[in-house]
């Protein structure tokens, strides 16, 4: 037990963070949880009555009169999870080899490249996504280039497709994957790799049995940091995705801002949060088992 004085100091030091998280995170979350089981008001807002049909609309026990079950909500949820998973995988494939390459560079080059990785943060996300819009549109840079090179005969319709959404998400998420991954790879003890070779393990065996488990914490951290915002992302599908690129984030945004159905939006948000939590807990538990 800490001495009284130390406890007071600790309390004072932790108070700001506790206060901010409590007021601006926990409280809104509780409000969302509460709204998700209340009746939507006629012109927005809520009626103070218990109302489980919000979840019924999503999962299939709607009454069929006031609220109608639409499987599209679950489909969009699955699509969001799929897009997010794909984003994680692509980021991982892009970043893992680069992390190894960079960890072997001399110190000053490493710092330069680390700076370059964080460079996108210096400009607005919206601006950068509009730049992709200009690149991907039929008369955009990409298509002009491909046409000029004779790779394609007619402009590709990339914009407003799921591919454009995933591309955009990978683009904005790469730094978040790279930094924890690089930290893990850079910390990898080279003598472990040498020991593995010395004991007769081939390159593939060394990768599977030593390098992968040793860098797993970085892989898990990067994946989690990329996965969570990806599932709920609404800006990328808003700008680069068409009807087929709609994600949960867009749906929730629409419920709050256009349909003015706060309780249904809240219910959707709670579903996303539960699913993400379940995915993460499973992932963390599995990676613990792998590491033993």
């Amino acid at each position: 037990m800490a001495a009284p004085r130390e406890r007071i100091v600790l309390a004072v030091l932790l108070a700001p963070a506790t206060l901010i998280l409590g007021v601006f995170f926990l409280l809104p979350l509780l409000i969302v949880a509460l709204f998700s089981v209340l009746m939507p008001g006629l012109y927005g807002g809520v009626e103070w009555a218990f109302y489980h049909w919000n979840y019924g609309r999503i999962f299939g026990w709607a009454d069929g009169l006031m609220e109608i079950f639409e499987p599209i909500y679950l489909q969009i949820l699955l699509r969001s999870l799929g897009f997010a998973t794909l984003t994680v995988l692509l980021c991982l494939i892009l970043c893992y080899p680069v992390a190894f390459w960079m960890s072997r560079l001399p110190e000053r080059w490493r710092l330069l490249f680390l700076f370059l990785v964080t460079l996108p943060f210096f400009s607005s996300l919206i601006v950068r996504l509009y730049a992709w819009l200009l690149i991907l549109r039929p008369s955009g840079l990409l298509n002009q280039g491909l046409l000029a090179l004779g790779v394609v005969d007619a402009p590709l319709d990339i914009l407003y497709t799921p591919a454009a959404v995933v591309l955009g998400m990978v683009y904005i998420m790469v730094p978040f994957m790279f930094l924890p991954l690089f930290a893990a790879v850079d910390n990898l003890d080279r003598s472990l790799v040498e020991a593995s070779f010395d004991l007769g393990a081939t390159r593939a065996q060394t990768f599977r049995k030593v390098i992968l488990p040793q860098t797993l914490p970085g892989i898990v951290a990067g994946s989690v940091i990329v996965f969570i915002p990806s599932v709920g992302n609404f800006i990328v599908p808003d700008i680069l995705g068409g009807a087929k690129g709609l994600m949960m984030g867009n749906l929730i945004e629409q419920q709050f801002l256009s349909a003015r159905n706060w309780p249904f939006g809240s219910a959707l948000a709670m579903v996303v949060m539960s699913v993400v939590l379940m995915v993460l807990l499973t992932m963390v538990a599995r990676s613990r088992r792998v590491r033993g």
Partner: protein, 356 residues
């Protein structure tokens, strides 16, 4: 008898940050017998670690060859070389249990379960770690980790074991104990050890042969006694143990003995072999070669360092010149600072360096 390991003309150059080159290995020839304990000894940067890494395959040679059992290793990647290494940092796999660490070489070869269990058990037993298999390396002490690294390296029964300063992280008592255990283990396994160290005491304690390296070359090699008693050069004499070096000019030869005199006029009796009057030479005498009485080097104790069973005395000769270091037993009547002494020694113990 042909050697197990044959190194011929090994060369390796590294670029320096200033744009130049340094030769880490500058034409090294070395043979290691089938069950020999060879120590590569030298100051840091002498090339001993580069030589070890060239044998294990982690360093490519610019020139020369490395042969094991007659087969050229040059083209083989490290994982195809039939030898194993104990790393300085142990390099244990932290995500695996002790048993899996030890069994790694068997695991990657895909040996059957029964053989695997048996060999891992035996290897752990050989290093005195039976029953520790289920632990993680992080739950072991430094000495125990050292043993795990050792067990892991011998589990696949290599003909040659390379050890890269494996004892440097241990405290003194444990290190001395491990030195004896390593020597004993090498004897029981009947395989060759190539041991890298910068600690001359370690080298003398364990080795069948000491290979002293300097600036990418082998300066001298021989049995520990040989290299201690008959150093070829000033560098060897000063690197291996403490020594007193006297630059002398030979005055005359009397029978089997020569009389040399230092610039300060101190006269020394030396074995005459190979010396001619008028010749300059460097003579070496170890601190333990001196007695404090009945000699003909008169001097005064200027400093005294207590070492437990021994005393380390610094004697300033009356004739002048550098202080002479003398080891004396610590007992009643041991001379104190200021005591006049007359140092004596057996002229046969004096050694004249081949190179000044």
């Amino acid at each position: 008898m042909t050697a197990l390991l044959e190194i011929r003309g090994a060369r390796r150059r590294f670029a320096t940050p200033e744009g130049g080159h340094i030769a880490a290995l500058d034409g090294v020839d070395l043979d290691v017998g089938g069950n020999e304990f060879v120590t590569l000894l030298g100051p840091s940067g002498c090339g001993k670690t580069t030589l070890l890494r060239a044998i294990s395959g982690f360093e490519q040679l610019d020139g020369g060859s490395v042969r094991l059992d007659g087969a050229d290793l040059g083209a083989l990647p490290p994982f195809r070389r039939p030898l194993n290494t104990v790393f300085q940092s142990y390099a244990l796999f932290g995500h695996m249990t002790v048993a899996r660490n030890v069994g790694y070489a068997l695991e990657v070869r895909g040996v059957d379960r029964a053989t695997y269990e048996r060999e891992v058990g035996q290897a752990l037993e050989k290093v005195g770690l039976s029953g520790m298999g289920a632990r993680k390396p992080s739950q072991l002490s430094g000495g125990q980790r050292q043993r795990v690294a050792l067990a892991r390296a011998i589990v696949a029964k290599p003909r040659l074991l390379l050890l890269d300063e494996p004892l440097s992280a241990l405290d003194r008592n444990l290190r001395q104990q491990m030195q004896l255990e390593l020597k004993d283990l090498q004897h029981r396994l009947g395989i060759a050890f190539v041991f890298v160290t910068h600690d001359q005491e370690e080298a003398l304690t364990m080795s069948d042969r000491v290979v002293l390296m300097r600036a990418g070359r082998i300066e001298q090699q021989g049995s520990p006694r040989d290299i201690y008693r008959r150093p070829r050069s000033r560098f060897v004499a000063e690197f291996i143990g403490e020594t007193n070096l006297f630059s002398i000019t030979v005055e005359r030869i009397e029978g089997g003995l020569a009389v040399g005199r230092t610039a300060q006029g101190l006269a020394l009796w030396l074995p005459a072999a190979g010396l001619r009057p008028g010749q300059s030479a460097v003579a070496a005498l170890r601190p333990a070669d001196f007695t404090l009485e009945d000699g003909d080097i008169a001097g005064q104790v200027s400093r005294s360092v207590y070492l437990g069973s021994d005393l380390h005395l610094f004697v300033r000769p009356n004739a002048g010149g550098p202080e002479i270091r003398v080891t004396a037993r610590d007992r009643a009547g041991a001379p104190e600072v200021g005591t006049p002494v007359s140092l004596g020694y057996d002229p046969a113990a004096a050694h004249v360096l081949e190179e000044a």
